[in-house]
Subunit: 363 residues, 2 copies
């Protein structure tokens, strides 16, 4: 990776989206605050008012802009006929797309609230966590309230397909989290399991399925919804958006799993957190192909003192990180390829930038 | 209340509904078990497999049977033309009504799961609670999973109005619970609040609003949905069903609040549980009208030793229970009056039985 790529950031993308990301954020806060309960309003905005990368809304808004009209030459004609400063080949983002982006952010915030209760998290992004500040009861109920509100919003989009995708995303996220927890339990008590569980291909297939449920599904299905909200869109474009999101989401999660071993301090977590929780990710799986020692550590469920530290050292001394990065790149390339047939537009360029950022990010 | 009424039970109603309540239960278990996560399937059915009164499904199914066709004389004609043993004036329950009943049961089960985490409940209906048996993490996630699944089912009913009512019910339930918690906090720190909070009318209005959100909304909105799922139903019938459910739900909750002071052991709770949690209900409000002493206890937030026991004694020595029962009866009567214009049918009779049971129940 070059220095130029290292310093690449998401900053370039807001200039394309203009005010639209801020509109999502404003609408999100308005929705949460429209309740007769002071506590729900306060707790609901506690995380939502401090958005991080807002990557999911950006993805949805950019896909909305990059698609939606098959009439390329008509668009060009309109462009030259109007030729005003504001004219461009990008489609305008509709109110429905803003709502969809808001819905997906609400899924994210609700899951953060529930995660922090069930993980007994003390902090979130360097500040006191919601359950520590407001208690478990209010935090769980606020998460539930956001789920109800976002479902109501999803129905108001008046698309049966979209209304069905949104609870589908939530169901997948939970199945992914449960399967990860079940996998973690298995990994930590590996001695009681048959040896074929150490087969690389079986473990890799399980890993990809888990990260699809955990991250890929939200990217894939919300990308699909963004395109579905356009009228008269072809099924090819819907399929391409889904594939773009799916591959991008998997790439994003693999990079996340790499950063668990290489990330800088801004993530605020110690390295090797995933192994500590018994979660087996790409770097561990690649290290196991090269090193009999990490296989032995894995086989005993990292149960001895220093097993985690040893595993981290082995991962860094093998090609594990490099090979994981290669796989993330492959998924990112597949994402790009999925939408290669789309008309060129500033939004499509921004999607390419987003893909590049996802594979190059350092936190 | 006569001995006959005391022994009245819900047993009479299944004979009218036949297999239909069992069909709801079977469909509920099938839906929950259709997941790739063993834990979600097991935990999801842990409470659902032990249904209690199944009052909500009964309400929905009976309303479906009692409504749905405005052609009274045509129905009678068909009845006499077919004159088979199975013919009756009741409409058949459709698959959609079975699904609606299942959705409402799923809301109930999801809320039990989350409630038992946030109340740190050790037991539920005499058995180990889900969080104690399976842990908080899995219990919270299973509740979320049920919410996602039931929303997906709600969308599959293909009625925009119904799909909007379901998250509305969930939102109201949570607002009700939050406002109750906020009210409880207020009540327990009453010394810091101005004296007008002790005004009976203000407190009563707050109480009715709270129990509407906590119980009335689910009865009212699911009753409305049941009727909406019929084709060509008049807005008067929809409104009547909503009013029936609303009044029935409020009556049900007032009786629940009375049973907190009078209930037999089958509820498995000590008397006065609500005051202990700082929740002010009908019997306390009526006792306050008669007794300056309970006003004083209330004003100091029941903070001294034995304050709760004293309050329970005062409630029993006043007309508080009797007057609360009268109000519950009034709401039950209003429920009955709401549907008085409906055609006579076995299902309508069963709704009258259900209303009577709700006011007469002892647990």
């Amino acid at each position: 990776m070059t220095g130029e790529l290292d310093t690449f950031s998401l900053k370039a993308i807001p200039s394309i989206l203009g005010e639209e990301v801020q509109a999502v954020q404003r609408s999100l806060l308005d929705t949460i605050q429209s309740t007769s309960s002071k506590m729900l309003a306060e707790l609901g905005t506690y995380y939502a008012a401090r958005p991080s990368k807002q990557m999911r809304p950006r993805l949805i808004l950019l896909l909305a802009k990059a698609t939606g009209s098959g009439y390329f030459f008509l668009n060009i004609l309109i462009y030259f006929m109007t030729l005003s400063a504001s004219a461009s080949k990008d489609n305008q983002v509709s109110m429905k797309h803003t709502q969809l982006a808001q819905i997906v952010e609400m899924i994210h915030v609700a899951s953060l609230l529930h995660d922090d209760v069930l993980d007994n998290a003390a902090t979130r992004r360097g500040e006191t966590s919601a359950p520590v500040k407001y208690g478990n009861k209010s935090t769980i109920l606020t998460g539930d309230f956001l789920l109800a509100k976002l479902m109501s919003l999803a129905v108001s989009l008046e698309s049966w397909e979209v209304a069905q995708e949104i609870p589908g995303i939530i169901g997948d996220l939970i199945e992914g989290e449960m399967r990860q927890a079940e996998g973690a339990l298995k990994a930590l008590r590996i001695d009681t399991f048959p040896i074929q569980i150490l087969d690389h291909d079986v473990l890799w297939a399980d890993y990809v399925q888990r990260i699809y449920l955990k991250t890929g599904t939200l990217f894939a299905r919300s990308a699909k919804c963004s395109v579905l909200l356009h009228k008269n869109v072809s099924s090819d474009v819907v399929k391409a958006a889904y594939e773009y999101g799916r591959n991008l989401g998997i790439a994003f999660q693999i990079v996340d799993d790499i950063l668990d071993f290489t990330g800088d301090d801004t993530l605020g977590k110690p390295h090797g957190n995933d192994i500590r929780e018994g979660i087996i990710t790409a770097p561990v799986l690649f290290a196991m192909k090269e090193s009999p020692e990490i296989r032995a550590l894995f086989a005993r469920g990292f149960s001895q003192p220093n097993d985690i530290d040893k595993a981290i050292c082995i991962i860094h001394s093998t090609q594990a990180i490099h090979r994981s990065e290669e796989v993330a790149m492959q998924y990112a390339k597949q994402a790009q390829d999925s939408i290669s047939a789309w008309e060129p537009s500033p939004a499509k360029c921004a999607l390419e930038e987003l893909t590049r950022w996802i594979t190059m990010r350092k936190h």
